[in-house]
């Protein structure tokens, strides 16, 4: 994002300027939406129960809840930047959760490392399918997710001593200085790494390039399969981290622990302005998308909206925002 003052091109109406600025800097709009939603939730909450929502505890809870989603959406962002999609992030997170709790008795470090390794491995399989065998990402990841789920079901039926290490518990659900969730210490550095990496590393450039035009990449000597392989593996690892946070929060792993996060992970990326076709976007917008979705979820819970209504609303929101982006970027 350029730091220069927004230039008004000759002959542009105010409307067109607004549209162009929105297209080039979607983050601004998203911040407005996020803050706006917070305010709305506050008002509604006060009306309903007399409590404020714009209170420090609630803000910190929002960030606490948003972290796992944001991590799932981080992997999803990387994958979607390359023009693909990963519908196995939820099951990979669940796998991470199970492994973390299943091997907890061997110590926290081992459990965490193993869980991330499993996530990385699952992502690698996805990557092999997509990059080397040219399977459509939708099919590959969906297929692998059903395989993973089946395997996890079998695994969960075996009796094992499930122990969630204390550290994992703390990071998943604890806060320090009263208001700052520990999971931000996990999410924050990762987010910074991703944002900086996408912008200032050669690999970041390649991610965008592969999503934009893989044929051109090949001509420039890029071995596209290498890029894709690593991207999917990273997505798997990030999903596993999300799963570890979730199991830390839940204090137990169950098969449905990450299921409600699958479609929101895609939604967060779409809301954040990354094109599903690849080649443009970034993680910054996704972060805001994840935050917005989390607040929205709280709002709907306060309104006593049923799971059904929530779902319908998710759909409508994804549609509306995607439409907005399509409209603003139609400046050809």
């Amino acid at each position: 994002m350029s730091a220069a003052a927004p230039e008004v091109a000759r002959g542009e109406s105010r409307f067109e300027t607004a549209r162009r600025l929105l297209a080039e800097n979607p983050a601004i709009a998203l911040i407005f939406v996020f803050v706006g939603l917070f305010v709305v939730t506050d008002i509604v909450n006060r009306a309903q129960s007399g409590h404020a929502f714009l209170a420090p505890t609630q803000v910190s809870t929002t960030f606490l809840y948003a972290a796992p989603l944001a991590l799932l959406a981080a992997g999803q962002t990387l994958v979607m930047l390359t023009g693909g999609v990963d519908l196995s992030v939820a099951t990979t997170a669940t796998a991470g959760a199970f492994v973390a709790s299943g091997t907890g008795k061997h110590g926290a470090a081992a459990a965490v490392v193993l869980a991330i390794a499993i996530g990385f491995g699952i992502g690698l399989v996805n990557g092999i399918g997509v990059a080397i065998f040219r399977v459509n990402p939708l099919i590959m990841t969906l297929g692998l997710s059903s395989v993973t789920l089946g395997a996890l079901t079998i695994y969960s039926q075996r009796r094992f001593v499930a122990l969630v290490p204390n550290i994992v518990n703390t990071f998943g659900s604890g806060r320090f200085l009263t208001y700052i969730p520990y999971d931000l210490l996990v999410w924050g550095p990762i987010a910074a790494l991703i944002i900086l990496g996408l912008r200032y590393s050669g690999f970041g450039r390649m991610i965008y390039a592969v999503g934009d035009n893989p044929v051109a990449c090949r001509l420039a000597g890029v071995r596209v399969w290498q890029v894709l392989l690593i991207v999917y593996a990273l997505c798997g690892a990030l999903s596993a981290v999300a799963g570890i946070l979730l199991v830390g929060f839940n204090d137990a792993a169950d098969l449905g622990i990450a299921a409600p996060f699958l479609l929101p992970s895609v939604a967060a990326v779409v809301i954040g302005g990354t094109s599903i076709l690849g080649g443009s976007g970034g993680y910054g917008g996704t972060i805001l998308g994840a935050l917005i979705l989390t607040v929205l979820d709280s709002l709907l819970t306060i309104l006593n909206a049923s799971a059904a209504i929530k779902q319908m609303l998710y759909g409508a929101i994804i549609l509306a925002l995607a439409w907005l982006y399509a409209w603003t970027s139609r400046s050809e």
Binding site: S146, A151, I276, A308, L313, W327
Partner: protein
């Protein structure tokens, strides 16, 4: 100067056979696989009769319709992630109200629902064309919407359907070896898809999937054809939901989840390219049966249901990988 006679009429029979093989090889392969599986299936249980064939037809019927719905959309160059949840919606609404209806009323209601599902498909298609948002995103959103609606209408499984309606899918036709569900499937295929496929609407469908620009320059209305594709998909999804009501006897709001992924898998396994423009509906129908049969055989052999899911999922992945390799060899990228 030499006369340019490119691709002159080659009368060599070998060329025609090779061309047929290239175009329909995969579909043929699917049918051969199905046959092989059926033969294997016969050998597994001590007793195997028309009842088993019947139960396969019952199991596979909703799946086959879902595969047809997805195939139509994919051939047109799009994808529809909302097939499964639209199916659930129709299933839930029909089971809720048909429980207290007579057979005749149920049929009329079914017709009404079909109109509704077609309209739903048209709505999705219109959204896609008007908003210029990629179809994955729009159909993903609609998946949420339909699923939520289904959940709202029927929070827990329930409802029912008149006996004769259920028998439409679970009964026999003339002989115990001809499941009536299969007959309905064939009717839908022959009466609805076949006439369309060779006529202008069907060709237009293939053309926008093959090369949208060329289609447009050929005078095809891309917008109208896309909406047509999703409407037809909605129609078949409605049939799938109605079939589900008949085969399961109840309405379950979460029933469609299984079908979203598997409809895409069946389409790919049935030889329809995900890029569009190629293939037909007959392959995906066979693929739906193949996938159902694989699970049936596994369960017959005493394999745990979850293991069956793992194996089925892995099978889908392996087959698709092989398919990917085949394309890759041909295109040599």
């Amino acid at each position: 100067m030499t006369t340019a006679t490119a691709t002159a009429d080659r009368r060599r029979p070998g060329i025609h056979a090779a061309r047929f093989g290239r175009r329909h090889g995969w579909t043929l392969g699917t049918y051969v696989l199905l046959l092989a599986l059926v033969l294997y299936w016969r050998s597994v249980p001590p007793v195997w009769g028309s009842f088993d064939l019947q139960s396969l037809a019952i199991d596979a019927l909703p799946f086959a319709f879902a595969a047809m719905a997805q195939a139509v959309v994919i051939i047109s160059g799009g994808i529809d992630l909302s097939v499964g949840s639209l199916m659930s919606l129709v299933n839930v609404i029909s089971a809720k109200y048909m429980a207290t209806m007579s057979f005749r009323d149920a049929l009329l209601f079914a017709g009404l629902l079909l109109l509704g599902s077609t309209a739903a498909g048209a709505f999705t298609g219109s959204l896609i064309t008007i908003s210029r948002v990629p179809d994955i995103v729009v159909t993903l959103a609609m998946l949420f919407v339909w699923a939520g609606l289904a959940l709202q209408i029927q929070p827990i499984p329930g409802g029912g359907a008149p006996l004769k309606y259920v028998q439409l899918a679970t009964g026999q036709w003339f002989s115990p070896w001809i499941p009536s569900g299969l007959v309905i499937l064939l009717c839908a295929f022959v009466l609805i898809w076949l006439p369309l496929r060779r006529a202008r609407p069907g060709l237009a469908l293939y053309s926008i999937g093959s090369n949208r620009n060329a289609a447009y320059l050929s005078g095809v209305s891309v917008t109208r054809t896309r909406i047509f594709a999703y409407s037809l998909g909605g129609f078949f999804a409605g049939l799938a939901g109605l079939a589900l009501t008949a085969t399961s006897g109840i309405g379950d709001p979460l029933s469609g989840q299984y079908y979203t992924l598997n409809s895409v898998a069946a389409v790919v396994l049935g030889g329809v390219a995900l890029v569009g423009g190629k293939g037909g509906l007959i392959g995906p129908i066979a693929a739906a049966f193949v996938l159902t049969l694989v699970k049936t055989i596994l369960i017959l052999k005493g394999v745990d249901q979850n293991w069956a899911q793992v194996i089925q999922g892995s099978l889908i992945i392996v087959v698709v990988m092989i398919g990917g390799l085949a394309i890759r060899e041909r295109r040599r990228m």
